[in-house]
Amino acid sequence: MNDSQLYRQEILNHYRNPQNFGKLKHADLKTEKINELCGDEIVLQLKLSKGKIKNVKFTGTGCALSVASASLFTESLKGKTLTQAKNITASQVIKNLGIQVGPARRKCVLLVYDALQEILKKRTGKRRA
């Protein structure tokens, strides 16, 4: 994959002006995740309404791929139920970004996805308790 696809204009736009960047006033679900290897960090917040994800926001610092991925992924979460969110796979996330990444950059792209998994796990844990 050459420049023009991996860092195409769309990806760079998402990096420079990410969708859903910021904090929620009253988040229902929240988690923070750090990619120790490169210093990328993300705080992911969800607001639920009537069983669906009404709003999503993220903050943090990261490389272009991690931010672009978070921008696209958080947008795709809106309106989904938690169960629907749970069914999204890592490969789908990468496919939707439309790029091929090596194992090292995979972690960057999936940081937001891993943060969501943590939120879902915490929530299931609470439920069980």
């Binding site: 420049d3 991996l6 860092y7 204009q9 760079l12 490169c38 210093g39 490389c63 272009a64 950059r105």
Partner: protein, 407 residues
């Protein structure tokens, strides 16, 4: 020294990466291997395979001779007084851990102080941090100044009668700066403190003379000076090593073993439990011979050409900020930098697409990066097998990358 002829001796340089010729700027991570080293290792496996020190048969004797001759090669390489002062380990990290676990355990007590610098690689920091926690020692830091040099004034103030050990790198793997270790060692000894030198980044670039430096311990890794992975050296003064207890136990490091008690072998075997990294030691010796054939003089001449050129070319990239020394003096060919608005890992990926190999991240020096207000940087590390043409390509590609990101 004809660079093109030298480059032909490195088989990997004929590889294409993403359709482009490989431009390898990651020698600080590991050096490329020349044919003589690869052949020496393969020769052990194809012609001289045997375990060492115990065998009576011909192959065992040949292998033993080669392994111990490798030890003598290392001894000469760093001008150690005795061959028993050369311990083979799995690398600089194990060498430093060995000192922490044996010298540290036995000779340091609650309230003693260890000085490290803010620029240390994690391998010359975490072992001391853990030792300090376990034994109630105080860990103090020699500060790094903005220009990348050590704050020697503060070092002098930090040295006190409680200082028992100073652990410092000869050359920084991030800043490329060469530290004045002879001075540092002298000052430490005046206070009665021992000194461990992390020579992982200096051994490939600068001639080492442990007697002249008068360091108490010195560690380096084979793979960083064109040897194989899995082998390193701990140099220690004989009187220190003989007083240090072993920390790895088993075959070969023993003298007499009974159900009740075991006694230990003499130096250096006391610290070399189990089957030695035989092929690797032979490879290391071949790498040292190769290095000496080229000669440090030639290596430094080449670097003296590359360093100012690289500095000039890198600083011509808009938005590029070098970390540490901006001048060519007192440094080796390691350059860490950031670029405005372009995250380091994205720079590295885009460089990789052009066949250029660099490192992105904290380079095992999180404390140093935090000191400079960074979480990550890009590091291009060169060696005598790199060329100014390659530096041109790096600079041009970096300029392209800034254009992509500032579109």
């Amino acid at each position: 020294m004809r660079i093109n002829n030298i480059r032909k001796q490195f088989p990997i340089l004929s590889r294409k990466i993403n359709g482009k010729p490989l431009i390898y700027f990651d020698t600080a991570a590991t050096a490329l291997k020349p044919k003589p080293v690869i052949e020496a290792i393969t020769k052990y496996y194809s012609k001289c395979t045997a375990n060492i020190h115990r065998g009576i048969h011909t192959l065992a004797q040949e292998a033993t001779a080669q392994y111990e001759s490798a030890r003598k090669t290392v001894q000469k390489f760093i001008n150690a007084k005795e061959y028993e002062e050369i311990i083979f380990t799995s690398g600089a990290t194990e060498s430093i851990n060995l000192v922490a676990r044996t010298f540290g355990e036995k000779f340091l007590k609650r309230g003693d102080e260890i000085l490290v610098s803010e620029m240390e690689h994690h391998s010359n920091f975490v072992p001391w941090q853990v030792l300090a926690e376990r034994k109630g020692l105080k860990l103090k830091f020699i500060p790094v100044k903005q220009d990348g040099s050590l704050d020697l004034k503060t070092y002098q103030k930090l040295l006190g009668r409680n200082t028992k050990l100073v652990a410092v790198s000869h050359v920084s793997n991030v800043l490329g700066v060469i530290n004045p270790i002879k001075r540092i060692i002298k000052a430490a000894h005046k206070q009665g403190a021992r000194v461990l030198i992390d020579a992982a980044q200096s051994a490939p670039h600068l001639p080492l003379d442990v007697q002249e430096l008068n360091c108490d311990f010195l560690a380096f890794s084979g793979h960083k000076l064109m040897g194989p992975t899995g082998i390193g050296v701990l140099y220690g003064k004989k009187d220190l090593l003989s007083k240090m207890p072993p920390y790895k136990f088993g075959g070969h490091m023993v003298a007499k073993v009974t159900k009740e008690k075991t006694t230990y072998a003499a130096l250096p075997h006391k610290f070399e439990a189990g089957t030695a990294p035989i092929a690797q030691a032979i490879g290391l010796a071949a790498a040292i011979r190769y290095l000496k054939n080229i000669g440090f003089k030639n290596i430094q001449t080449q670097e003296k050409k590359l360093v100012p050129y690289a500095l000039r070319k890198l600083t011509s990239v808009p938005g590029l900020k070098l970390i540490g020394p901006a001048l060519p003096q007192n440094r080796i060919s390691v350059f860490s930098f950031t670029i405005n608005n372009v995250p380091p890992h994205d720079i590295a990926t885009l460089l990789d697409q052009a066949g250029i190999a660099v490192r992105a991240g904290h380079h095992c020096a999180q404390i140093l990066h935090r000191k400079f207000g960074l979480s990550a940087s890009v590091r291009a590390s060169l060696y005598f097998y790199n060329t100014s043409k390659e530096i041109n390509q790096l600079a041009n590609r970096l300029k392209e990358i800034t254009k992509i990101f500032n579109h």
